[in-house]
Symmetry: C2
């Protein structure tokens, strides 16, 4: 099992990708990692660590795609970047998966054009993890397809269910269509069409509303990428805001240092289910390969878990199961 | 100043609407309330209270529209309901505003058809309050128009700004367009068109993302009713979920009764900025009248504040200012 890791992606490269990769190798004796990035920088970081040189390899990719660069432009002009080189070698079969905490749009573009689509897939999708009171669930599409057609939506639902089953280990994952009301006739004409297409689909629980997300009423929340992206980023902003609000309340109430410490501990435990480090990355579903992207701020732990997801995706043959379900 | 109050709307009628109306009358000596609902029920509730009989009047409306009834159907078939009768009398100039904690869709339909549109308005909109770290701001459209056209979007922005200024008392309210990224070229073709239309508009801060809502990066968050409704209901679900998560953490950590009590107090203070009771209701902007709807679960305090908003809307001539800004 060889997982390629973007060592020139994210806000803390090469440090965090390298550390995460080394942790992954230590945990899984079957794993080899291939670090893509400017060779000198990656080797310099590696020199700070002890590791199995047989299972940690470096592949030079001198160009770096910035987090704010225009994806299409970057992929076109930076052919020697970690993302373009790494995805190219994945396509050529030199590695089993590619993971990155870098520019999401660039990785999506490189994966779409470089890897192509799985047989029968109309459009690949980004399936984002979303925290609920029951644990992480999936929000599909999270921004790759701002508008969706009913046939593609049904495929997103199927791909999301397979990922939920194989990676999140949820039996019979339920699909809910994000809408403005529960009743069948609710929403735009497009949502009504999607509802009609999904009606006879296994485990479709019908329309769900914004208030049903955090309680985890479905396992796969289906929506277009516009709604998905807005809801995803909104959700990610909650822990910080809750901390600020509690901080404000604590100040207002004039609590003692010990009391504040206690409350911080409670808050830390309570908000841990919002911690994306524990899942590490979000997959592009429907591409002919395994391509996973993480937050720019990914910690070594997040990178390690991203690599773990990639391994599980390969080992459980998620792509084979997607092809079988669509054809 | 006469405000009509739906005494047959919401989950706790006639009790909460009647109590809220009496509180409003007590607070404002210039105010008369007109309670619409089944006369016997309303009078029975009034009998529990002392009040100024000159300024609290009852108008019989024997039919009740349920919270789950189909709005169009209900408005058509229940001509003797509080909503239809009340809006009709508002149209006829017998009262200055109508407030209800009842069926939102029914009140919207009755207001659209019964009151008509203000001069120059393409489409009325629901402008919902939304909690941010800076206090309540506006989310427009919150579900009345699932799809919007650029010209209507610009009007929504203007109407939202006027309401923000006059009722929320925010100087120079900023308008942000909810989108998948900050850059000008982001989003669907429709969002790009709306962006172009708004570009030369006063106080337009450009695209904002899901993560910008809770920090209050704009004062008017502009979006279509599909996004608005999903985000609104998602936001409303946060306090309950945060309480559950903190409850879980407290259990896990085995805290003492005193410690738990302390944390509950902190949480109560921290989450108070999410408390919709303090704002009370959301206005339909663009209709030729003042029509405000509140949560089904509105408390007497929420009803009182809804009536207060209605009074301010009339006193500040929000509708006159909308007409002036659009024509």
């Amino acid at each position: 099992m060889i997982v390629a890791v973007d060592a020139a992606g994210g806000d803390y490269y090469p440090k965090n990708p390298v550390e995460g990769a080394l942790q992954a190798v230590e945990e899984n004796s079957e794993l080899t990692v291939l670090l893509f990035g400017p060779e000198d920088q990656v080797n310099k970081e590696l020199a700070n660590h002890d590791y199995d040189t047989q299972r940690v390899l470096v592949h030079d990719a001198p160009q770096v795609i910035g987090m704010e660069e225009s994806p299409a432009q970057a992929v076109k002009t930076k052919q020697q970047s970690s993302i373009v080189v790494g995805v190219g070698l994945h396509k050529a079969g030199k590695c089993d998966a590619f993971v990155s905490a870098g520019n999401t749009g660039a990785l999506l573009a490189a994966s779409m054009f470089g890897l192509g689509k799985l047989k029968g897939v109309l459009r690949p999708t980004i399936a984002s993890y979303f925290p609920t009171i029951k644990g992480f669930r999936l929000l599909v599409d999270a921004g790759a397809n701002l508008e969706i057609k009913p046939e593609a939506a049904v495929q997103f639902a199927k791909m999301g269910q397979i990922y939920c089953q194989q990676i999140l280990k949820i039996d019979n994952p339920k699909v809910g269509l994000l809408n403005v009301g529960e009743e069948e006739g609710k929403g735009t004409d497009l949502l009504k069409e999607i509802h009609a297409e999904l009606k006879n689909h296994d485990n479709f629980v019908g329309n769900v509303e914004g208030k049903d997300i955090l309680p985890g009423k479905a396992d796969v929340f289906l929506c277009d990428g516009l709604v998905g992206n807005i809801v995803l980023k909104f959700g990610e902003s909650i822990p910080e805001i809750v901390q600020q609000m509690i901080g404000g309340a604590v100040k207002e109430m004039g609590l003692s240092k010990e009391e504040v410490g206690q409350i911080q501990k409670v808050l830390h435990t309570a908000l841990s289910s919002f911690n994306y480090e524990n899942v590490g990355g979000i997959p592009f579903l429907g591409v002919n390969g395994v391509s996973i992207v993480g937050h720019g701020g990914s910690s070594p732990l997040a990178i390690k878990n991203m690599i773990k997801s990639a391994v599980q995706t390969v080992e459980n043959d998620v792509n084979g199961k997607i092809v079988a379900s669509l054809n």
